[in-house]
Amino acid sequence: MQTRRQKIKESYLLYSFKRDKVAMVSFTILAILLLAALFAPLLAPYNPYDTASIDIMDSEIPPSWTEEGDSRFFLGTDIQGRDLVSTMLYGLRISVMIGIGAVILQALIGIAVGLVSGYFGGRIDAVLMRIADVQLSFSTLMVAIIVSAIVQIAFGVGRYEQLAVPILIVIIGIAEWPQYARTVRASVLGEKNKEYVEAARVIGLDSRRIMFSHILPNTLSPVLVISTVQVANAVMSEAALSFLGLGMPVTKPSIGSLIDAGFEYIFSGAWWITFFPAVLLIVFILVINLLGDWLRDVLNPKLYKG
């Protein structure tokens, strides 16, 4: 009998991971960023949400290694006098939270729709897939702009600031579920005619049980792959929305709203407010995409390198 630990040790996934430098570097950076985001309150030198600790006199201080730098603020401060390192850590936390939350929502809707659509086929399939097409034909940004505009009017800007995170999760989640639905549907179509599904029907199992306990586990590897890319996409969508002023408010900035906030001052010389969050965003998205590529290659048996 193999123990679970041995199985992981001998798995092809780990084997190929150890031989892929890009995957290892990406994974390390991603792990560091995620941990930093998770433990932001412990790691950050200041609390950017605590207005009492912010001094407006500290605003727009350049990074500490430049001439006018202040040794207290390593990457400088933003326009409100917040330490940029701390604000970025807290911002990353919000971005990751929105990204993962939105992907979970997308996956829940998408997998359910894809399973039902692929398994039952016929008219149900046609209706659900046309709905997905309609959803895809709206760009994420357009849906987001309309919804957040309506919400901001309906709840007022003050209330919107509290609700921003769940609203962004719902907006991005709903905008992108067809990606999952299509992927899952395609694999369900491939799986549902296999004999093990017929065997389950011969036993007398009901459709729901066949769908979720027999077919779903066999469609999960493409879902895993698109999930990585979708997290990156969701973080990017959130950044884009925030940049357009429709995302996180300046009082609780995500990476995107930080970039936006600094963008207004970039020509007055305060380049660091936009530059560092932008670099952080690019690195974060890049490592996720590189990991996703690696995962796709590993889980694709046709590219099995052995």
Partner: protein, 338 residues
């Protein structure tokens, strides 16, 4: 013969392959009309499977034998006709009403690489039917039952936590048989259970199935294209061509005196090892498409004995010998000219 365990009455199964609404639209003689294209897989088959026997259904690829098997199991609803189980009609039952019958009839599939869920261990594959049909069963009983069935099919019960990819094709087929046997059915449909296996493994699996039949008094509906397998396992043989039955006979009788011209051609194609020169009957032409069936006897286009009547009238299955109960659907045999 006692009351049949399964009776198929005038079964038809058509598949609509015309696709969506737009593909059905056709312009014919200036008018737009809806036109459906159907594959006529099974055309009016009537069969009785007696308790305890092995009835083999043979025929070439695409003759509808697998469709027949799946329709009997309720995987496909029949287009028309009836399927009766011990006198009760089962083809019109809802999934819930069907449950008691699901415990009594099971199926073994062709490809052991596809018929086991790759993500489920042997244990959960075998447990599922048991726990589903006997809600009150205790874990200890499940374990005992699994061990017993795995022992019977020749798979070491210690391997129950392994996954299908860790087994060879023959072992997987044994596990698939175990899955069918675990809820103690009385009737098993075997859809080409050995044709995906090596010849050396085929005999083992066939012997396993025959042993299980002896021990449990099983009845088999055995679908195959392999005539040497049929001779080994079957008590009666039904020969199918293009969705219709052409001959139904006791195995020995069929092999010694095949009556239908198609059966004769089929049997002449069995390779022989004794080195004698073979007299293949070469059928002219190709198999007609099941979308557009020939009129009259479906075999008339390729039959060397066909006459005008064969082109017009489709023959009925008629009893040709009282002693064996052989049935043949051929005008030539009925008229006594063959």
């Amino acid at each position: 013969m006692s009351t049949p365990i399964v009776k198929i009455e005038n079964l038809y199964k058509y598949f609509d392959i015309s696709g969506g609404f737009l593909e059905k639209l056709q312009i014919r003689s200036g008018k737009i009309s809806l036109h459906t294209t159907e594959v006529k897989a099974v055309n009016g088959v009537s069969l009785e499977v007696a308790s305890g026997e092995t009835l083999a259904v043979v025929g070439e690829s695409g003759c509808g034998k697998s469709t027949l098997a799946r329709t009997v199991m309720g995987l496909y609803p029949p287009t028309s006709g009836k399927v009766l189980y011990r006198g009760e009609r089962i083809d019109t039952l809802s999934a819930r009403q069907m449950l008691p019958y699901r415990q009594r009839m099971q199926m073994i599939f062709q490809d052991p690489y596809a018929s086991l869920n790759p993500r489920k261990s042997v244990r959960s594959t075998l447990e599922e039917p048991l726990r589903f049909h006997r809600k009150k069963i205790s874990s200890k009983e499940v374990d005992e039952r699994l061990a017993e069935v795995m022992e019977q099919v020749g798979v070491n019960p210690a391997w129950r936590d392994r996954f299908p990819h860790e087994f060879s094709g023959g072992q997987r087929q044994r596990i698939a048989i175990a899955r069918a046997l675990v809820i103690d059915p009385e009737f098993i449909v075997a859809d080409e259970p050995v044709s995906a296996l090596d010849v050396s493994i085929q005999a083992q699996i066939l012997n396993l199935m025959m042993d299980a039949q002896d021990e449990r008094g099983l009845t088999y509906l055995f679908i195959t294209h392999d005539l040497s397998v049929v001779r080994h396992v079957a008590s009666r043989v039904a020969v199918m061509y293009l969705g219709t039955l052409c001959e139904l006979s006791v195995t020995r009788e069929l092999y010694e005196t095949p009556r239908h011209p198609y059966t004769q051609a089929l049997l002449s194609a069995i390779p022989r090892v004794d080195g004698k020169k073979q007299n293949h009957i070469k059928l002219p032409g190709e198999i007609p498409t099941p979308i557009d069936l020939p009129s009259g006897c479906v075999f008339h286009g390729r039959c060397i004995h066909a006459d005008e009547r064969c082109k017009r009238e489709s023959p009925q299955l008629l009893k040709v010998s009282d002693s064996s109960g052989s049935l043949v659907a051929c005008h030539g045999v009925a008229e006594g000219r063959l």
